[in-house]
Subunit: 238 residues, 2 copies
DNA sequence: CGTTAATTTGATCATCTTCAACATGAGTGG
DNA sequence: CCACTCATGTTGAAGATGATCAAATTAACG
């Protein structure tokens, strides 16, 4: 049995945000019971037909595209409260989404989406907001990769994960990266070796401590100062 | 007086696509008369409140974001038939859009958008499609910049412009780049000098000829072959 | 506890940036 | 219409950032 939306810990940042009781009831009728995914399992794959949007309830996911010459590119990491699936909004998906750890998602079927948007103003608004966030996040990442040094990219990535944890009510200085170094490297457009070296340097500089995938930010201010105007997009991409 | 949507040369690829007469009439009532912009003029600026979506009617635009440390990043070029403005869909814009040449746009005010989407199914679909295209285009560019060599990026850029011209019914082998080299370089995340050198090399290889901003593709097949699985997104970003 | 995957570290190398100088064109006012 | 000026674009040489290759370590997991 699925936890109802109004009891969900994410209700403040997910679709239920700002709804009254009637609207909440209506929303819940149109959201499927949450689905479980084990680490490595596929939420949806490229070329699959669009069947709805997904809200991450727990755990985390990565989405990736691959080019015809076989190269893969991770285009986003998705944390609880974030909405996934816009890449297939009209027809079929072009990216694949995979669980980075054991995770849960809530699904809003595509057929119910129009109905919800038409009948609950704030759902419509929330979706629009998510779309705009998506675009903004994309722009930020593009700027990051196109213009900034490898060090800047890593710092901004850490800052971004920290911010997103904070938004969900978790610690912004102690958290775990659910993805391997290689995924971070791919996402940021660099070699895993470079990630490794730069993290080591941050540790030497006593700004962040790393134990495996566990992160402890020692000097949050310094991290923020160094994070090159990469505003908090706190958003998803799919 | 604005040319009506059904007489517009872009009706097949713009919002009117697939509408019947009644729907067309309804659409036209909700689209403002087209607006003119001179080269360099601003369609909207970052932080401006969202007031609607724009369809490029003629000419071209670029959109850019800037980080707090002053760096600017061009995040998209927009050609006729393409829709601009999703970055502000919920509240206010975070990118600025500037005309690259004398251009015209049609505006769909935000207040009319929900109405149109609710009442004309294919407009709703078209918007969704544009959003999905946006995400896809983003993913392609990200892959391009994060993973590919400078040469690949330039080739894919040319191929992309060619494809978008073709889609609009123009030549895919003879066209003009409306943006300066510096803008291309910024967009692709490299130095203008590198662009210059790579274009020169393509010319030496007898694949493309350049006269200023005029492009003539000599060996389209070779250009396609070299363009690293960067599928035609034929889409916009804003 | 062994086997494989993930991560780190070192050394070398390539690509692309940067700096500098120059060339070319477009736009403007006389 | 021409001359001037500034923006845009090209080319060369040197240098730096980050990639690649190789090897060693360490963790994850059955």
């Amino acid at each position: 049995m699925t936890l109802s939306c109004d009891l969900c810990a994410l209700s403040e940042i997910c679709l239920p945000a700002g709804l009254n009781d009637d609207e909440l009831a209506l929303l819940e009728k149109n959201v499927l019971p949450s689905l479980k995914f084990k680490k490595g399992e596929v939420l949806y794959a490229a070329s699959e037909e669009f069947s709805g949007l997904y809200a991450v309830k727990s755990g985390s996911f990565k989405s990736a595209v691959s080019s015809s010459d076989g190269d893969a590119q991770i285009v986003g990491f998705h944390m609880p409260g974030e909405l996934i699936g816009f890449d297939g909004y009209d027809a079929h998906h072009t990216s694949s989404v995979v669980a980075l750890e054991n995770s849960m998602v809530c699904k809003v079927p595509g057929s119910h989406l129009d109905f919800l948007c038409s009948n609950i103003k704030s759902v419509s608004k929330h979706i629009h907001s998510m779309i705009a966030n998506d675009v903004r996040a994309h722009n930020s990442v593009l700027m990051l990769i196109a213009q900034k040094s490898a060090e800047d990219r890593v710092i901004c990535f850490l800052k971004n994960v920290s911010d997103r944890n904070k938004k969900r009510g978790f610690s912004s200085v102690d958290f775990t990266l659910s993805m391997p170094r290689g995924d971070i490297a791919n996402y940021l457009g660099m070699a895993p070796e470079t990630i490794s070296r730069l993290l080591a340097q941050l540790q030497d500089d006593k700004i962040v401590e790393f134990d495996r995938r566990n992160v402890h930010i020692i000097d949050y201010n310094e991290l923020t100062r160094r994070s090159c105007g990469h505003e908090d997009p706190s958003a998803v991409r799919a």
